[in-house]
Symmetry: C2
């Protein structure tokens, strides 16, 4: 997928600077869930003047713009992924750290129902399964 967030962000009044473009490119070329440090390391390979602060600042900005999602899986640092794909939840393989994405319409519906019955409207949610691969 091409990095076509650029126009979208520009329209939202976000300046597209060199560091931001580098980070956006990295995000659109990745389908994993890298943390800030990983993004930083890859960014430095492209432009060695980029700083870790800028990565953090950019992640916050992109999150506010809805361009990425931030995850905080058990313990570790925040990990990011581009938004825009269809919504999904995560299953984390506790042995390998692998992240498997899944989607359940049923779950989505249920949580709406639960929230409504408690008198709430959902802004966002986290649904993470932590498991171990079954031997067949």
């Amino acid at each position: 997928m091409k990095n076509d967030y650029e126009k979208q962000l520009r329209d939202a009044g976000v300046r597209i600077t060199r560091p931001r473009r580098v980070i956006l490119d990295i995000l659109s070329q990745t389908d994993g869930h890298p943390d800030a440090l990983e993004i930083f390391k890859r960014a430095v390979e492209v432009d060695n003047s980029i700083s870790l602060s800028t990565v953090y600042r950019t992640m916050k900005l992109l999150e506010e713009q809805g361009a990425i999602h931030r995850h905080a899986f058990d313990g570790g640092p925040s990990r990011f992924e581009q938004a825009g794909n269809q919504h999904h939840d995560h299953l984390i393989d506790m042995e390998t750290g692998d992240v498997i994405e899944f989607h359940s319409e049923m779950i989505e519906k249920l949580q709406e129902e639960i929230a409504r019955s408690l008198g709430y409207e959902i802004i966002h949610h986290r649904f993470e399964l932590y498991g171990r691969k079954l031997k067949k």
Copy 2:
């Protein structure tokens, strides 16, 4: 609820020291979801020689023993609650920070199904709703 983890822990070979007893008492007198610092502050009121390190070490120990659950709600520090009550998930009021507990058998079943269909066995899961109170 009385602090009756003591016997249970003792049987598991865990030494019951003064700091640990103080912390266990605090946990059993609380039905919120305090973080380490809050527990530390309350502990100091009972015994001013307790250190924050010990609180952290004790929380890790109790977690391993299954006596408490650790939560990492969006952003903030780890927050703890005693285990032993029936399993439940959390809805976090984004305006007040209040934590509302709920339980859905349907959700429990669904996640088992999802994990199984992906070839996994669930060790634990996190299901958190972040929402805003509906005005009626």
